[in-house]
């Protein structure tokens, strides 16, 4: 399978503490990868390094086989990597449309924004996802929305940019069953369209159901890489995770 992004021997320290230690992961086209690990395992640091929010202290990053220098969030987005962050990365005082196009506005020459076109697209996207009430339109402020609706806006942003890899950091946290199902449907649609998903979750059942393979992280290191064929159930995946973390 064609590689989208590859992190090679990446390490990251915060105030002397090693958050990532010599981590190598690769995400290829059309796969759903589940990233699991206990609290403090380094999942968030790994995600933020992968999507350019943190610069690695050492190691290298390759995009579609090409080495990249000066990796940052804008480069990641331009490389077709979108992220639905755990905190959703929204600006609550701004409208839905400004949030969906945040950092990637549609513009006329000289940087003036194509507002009408953006509103039209944003209205279509939030209807497509279906997490937002029918009564809400794209010019409403995000601060008026519920948690699930805000997740819908964050997902709409990832869809609009037609990313080749979508990173979902704990996307089902605090969502109702119905809303969780809609997130699963979204992941299924992304996979069917030949794109990839990196799915991070605390809920092993959610991760197991949705992923093709799993990466288990502990104390900043990758301790397991498993294909779904190697793990017959979510319970077995949980057991593997517990046993290895204990012995690690």
């Amino acid at each position: 399978m064609r590689s989208i992004i590859e992190l090679k021997n990446v390490s990251k320290r915060f105030a002397g503490i090693k958050a990532l230690n010599d981590v190598s992961i690769k995400i290829s086209a059309g796969e759903v990868v589940g990233l699991i690990g206990d609290n403090g395992a380094g999942k968030s640091t790994l995600i933020k390094t992968l999507v350019g929010v943190h610069a690695p202290d050492s190691g290298s990053i390759e995009i579609r086989g090409d080495h990249v220098e000066g990796w940052n969030a804008l480069k990641a987005r331009n490389a077709g990597i979108e992220t639905v962050f755990q905190d959703k990365a929204l600006c609550p005082q701004q409208s839905i449309v400004w949030n969906i196009f945040m950092g990637k506005e549609l513009t006329f020459p000289f940087g003036f924004v194509r507002q009408k076109e953006q509103v039209k697209i944003a209205n279509r996207l939030i209807r497509e996802i279906g997490l937002t009430s029918e009564l809400i339109d794209a010019e409403a402020p995000v601060g008026n929305l519920s948690g699930g609706e805000r997740q819908g806006v964050a997902i709409a942003r990832a869809i609009f940019n037609e990313a080749e890899l979508i990173v979902l950091d704990e996307p089902t946290n605090n969502l109702s069953l119905n809303e969780t199902q809609k997130v699963f449907d979204f992941v299924g649609n992304v996979k069917n369209s030949g794109r990839s998903v990196l799915f991070i979750g605390h809920n092993i059942y959610h991760v197991y159901d949705i992923s093709d393979r799993f990466i288990i992280l502990d104390r900043g290191e990758v301790i397991h890489r498993l294909n779904k064929q190697e793990v017959s159930s979510a319970e077995k995946l949980m057991k593997i995770m517990r046993d290895t973390i204990k012995g690690h």
Partner: protein, 325 residues
């Protein structure tokens, strides 16, 4: 089937509530002054003197709306105002064409703004405290380098630029037209340009903006730079109007300009702001300066009423809601 309303009125009020609130304070103030002294208030020359002062304030206040919306504040603009006017006056005295002197003054403002912004952003300093330091630093430099003496530019009105910038058209000061053009430009920059939209994002949630690839530091430095440019233009307009640069120039505008921003409906916490509201904020401040005397009160009451209206405006804007998180 229900007909779809293009812009429902409640949405209009919600989006423009702060600007409308500022307009309300302005109209209320005008009404009070009108009732207090109808004869004085009907004299056109009273309003003309306000029109001379308002553009200067507008050049300073509108960029400050951008900066406060980005979550920062700058006090040094009051000294940048003086420094740019000093550079302008000095170059003219040295025989440089006033047009190029004006351009040099604008560049000085931009440079000072960008430097202040860079020091604050890269040094991770409090913008309030750091810009206070720069305010005194530049003002001190002006006193030292001018030996506290003013520079007079008596022949400046003979240059073609003078009537174009501060002349009169049908009795109206031309600077009002320049200020009008500046407001229209700033309105679109703030609400319809990538820079203005990023200013909103950065002030609302800096972390989210950075996660979405917005260069937070660059946006903030540009906002500081814009404040510097606005202050420079205001300073040089004042020098042109008065034919004089004086080393204390601009110091009196420090608190008045900031008051106009907040009366205008831009909250201190960042993420939202209003250019239209700021114009009414400027109107309130400019009319307050002459209105108190015009209704027959002593000028010593001016600061008291300025303070009162700031408090009333803040309480009024609070009705529009607290910060949404």
């Amino acid at each position: 089937m229900l007909a779809k309303t293009k812009i429902p009125m409640p949405r209009f009020f919600h989006k423009n509530g702060r600007a409308l609130g500022s307009m309300g304070y302005f109209l209320l103030l005008m009404l009070v002054f009108f009732i207090g002294a109808p004869e004085v208030w009907s004299r056109p020359n009273l309003h003309q003197s306000v029109f001379v002062m308002m553009p200067t304030l507008i050049f300073m206040v509108i960029p400050l709306v951008f900066l406060v919306t980005s979550g920062e504040i700058d006090l040094s603009f009051a000294s940048t105002y003086g420094l740019s006017a000093y550079v302008f006056a000095l170059l003219i005295k040295a025989g440089i064409d006033p047009f190029f002197a004006f351009a040099a003054g604008v560049c000085t403002g931009a440079l000072v703004g960008a430097t202040v912004g860079a020091i604050i952003v890269f040094g991770r300093l409090s913008s309030l405290v750091a810009s206070l330091g720069v305010l005194f630093l530049i003002r001190g430099f002006l006193f030292v380098s001018t030996n506290s003496r003013s520079i007079t530019l008596l022949d400046i009105d003979e240059h073609w630029m003078y009537p174009m910038l501060v002349g009169k058209v049908y009795g109206l000061p031309v600077q009002v037209l320049w200020a009008g053009a500046f407001v229209i430009f700033a309105y679109y920059l703030f609400n319809r340009h990538v820079f203005g939209i990023h200013v909103h994002h950065v002030g609302d949630n800096e972390v989210s903006a950075a996660q979405m690839g917005i260069n937070v530091k660059a946006v903030k430095i540009k906002a500081f730079m814009f404040v510097g440019i606005g202050a420079a233009i205001a300073g040089m307009f004042t020098t042109l109007i008065t034919y004089t640069f004086f080393p204390t120039q601009g110091f009196g505008y420090l608190l008045l300009a900031l008051a106009a921003v907040f009366i205008g409906g831009t909250p201190y916490w960042g993420g939202i702001g209003t250019v239209v509201g700021a114009i009414f904020g400027v109107g309130v401040i400019a009319y307050m300066e002459i209105g108190v005397v015009a209704v027959g009160m002593s000028g010593t009451w001016r600061q008291f009423f300025n303070g009162l209206i700031i408090l009333l405006a803040l309480l009024g804007h609070r009705l529009h809601g607290d910060r949404v998180r």
